[in-house]
Symmetry: C2
Subunit: 225 residues, 2 copies
């Protein structure tokens, strides 16, 4: 599947796993000012309204700049829309959290709409990975089923964008069948009991957060997905 | 008003304003493992289930430990409940964001319930301040009115815990009257036009986020509220 990595304008990654993804991305798109801080490689495209672009970046990347001045969407959304137009079906988003918490909350909540535009959406932070699902294998009762690789024993949290979401999960310590998603903490701090989560949901998208294991000190220690 | 400062177990503050609040707090409550990293002063109480408390902290603060082993609430909630029992009507929460994003989202969403227990609740991060309001001056049409000091020209974001929240605001650049709070980003990235926000809401609590000005390099530069 054609995958793009997007570097957004939150805190620049420090954990080895997002840094590894940044370094090895076949296609790297930076949102606007994020390119100013990019180290160790070149962006393939720079997308945004360019109100945060440094003069140096502007001169250096003039041939790779995709200008979108819409005031209805933020630069991260513009980057994902650009990926969609270019035929990418999978995106990995880096640098979208940290710094101002209103941007962090906004960017996380946008994952719901990104999931409707892509087959695979992951947001990788310095602390873990958000996976988001709008689709899955449709079951007879209307639930969508998805499978998420994980590590037995590690924590996992689930979030809904729609308070009416229903969730069933196999491979977790605490049952989630009766969770009412009327507060963001309602299905957090569960634990994986196997190396795979089998999740079925209604009224998605479903957001799944898997924090890195504290023992993963190097990118090479992180189990391949 | 009797105010307590709570230090939670997210990233330890680095911005001078939360560090100033930590240092000058008349009453400081640390949640569990947060006390392990406390620098420059002593806690008045340590509240939690003590599963993250170091042996050194345990020995040092044995006389100030309030043990609460309830599995229904997290340590931050236990600390706020303790403050409520002790007669505090105002809390300032520090160190509740950063690190794992599921804890950050959980802690921010808990502000809604803390607002029901207190007259004043603020969460101060390294990047700004969350104010949360459950009550205000009740208007004839049922809206609750609150006033929030701010700085003209600075950004402001509004969040709802209930998607049915209605908001009216004076002192902001972009109208919010018709915002439907069905996604977290819906009323973010507004701008203060005066040094006071006059806000009226229905179906709260209402969460208001004011990022620090980038020019506030020192605690003394931050306007007194």
């Amino acid at each position: 599947m054609k995958e793009a990595v997007i570097l957004a304008q939150g805190a620049y990654p420090v954990h080895p796993y997002p840094l590894h993804l940044l370094k090895t991305a076949k296609t790297l798109i930076c949102t606007d000012g994020a390119v100013n801080r990019l180290q160790g490689r070149e962006p393939d495209w720079v997308v945004g309204d360019f109100d945060s672009l440094s003069e140096t970046s502007r001169e250096k990347y003039i041939s790779r700049m995709i200008r979108d001045t819409s005031e209805e969407t933020n630069d991260l959304t513009k980057a994902v829309q650009f990926c969609s137009r270019k035929g990418f079906r999978s995106v990995v988003i880096l640098g979208a959290t940290g710094l101002r918490e209103d941007h962090t909350l906004g960017n996380i909540s946008l994952l719901g709409s990104f999931a409707l535009m892509m087959d695979s959406v992951r947001m990788v932070t310095d602390h873990g990975i958000f996976h988001v699902f709008a689709q899955g294998i449709q079951k007879a009762d209307g639930f969508m089923e998805v499978s998420v690789p994980c590590c037995g024993g590690n924590p996992v949290s689930f979030f809904a964008f729609n308070p009416a979401m229903k969730l069933r999960a196999e491979g977790v310590r605490y049952p989630v069948e009766n969770v009412v998603f009327d507060s963001w903490w309602k299905a957090t701090l569960n634990q994986c009991t196997a190396n795979n989560l089998l999740l079925s949901f209604l009224n998605g998208p479903l957001l799944v957060y898997l924090p890195f294991s504290p023992t993963w000190k190097e990118a090479r220690d992180i189990p391949e997905e």
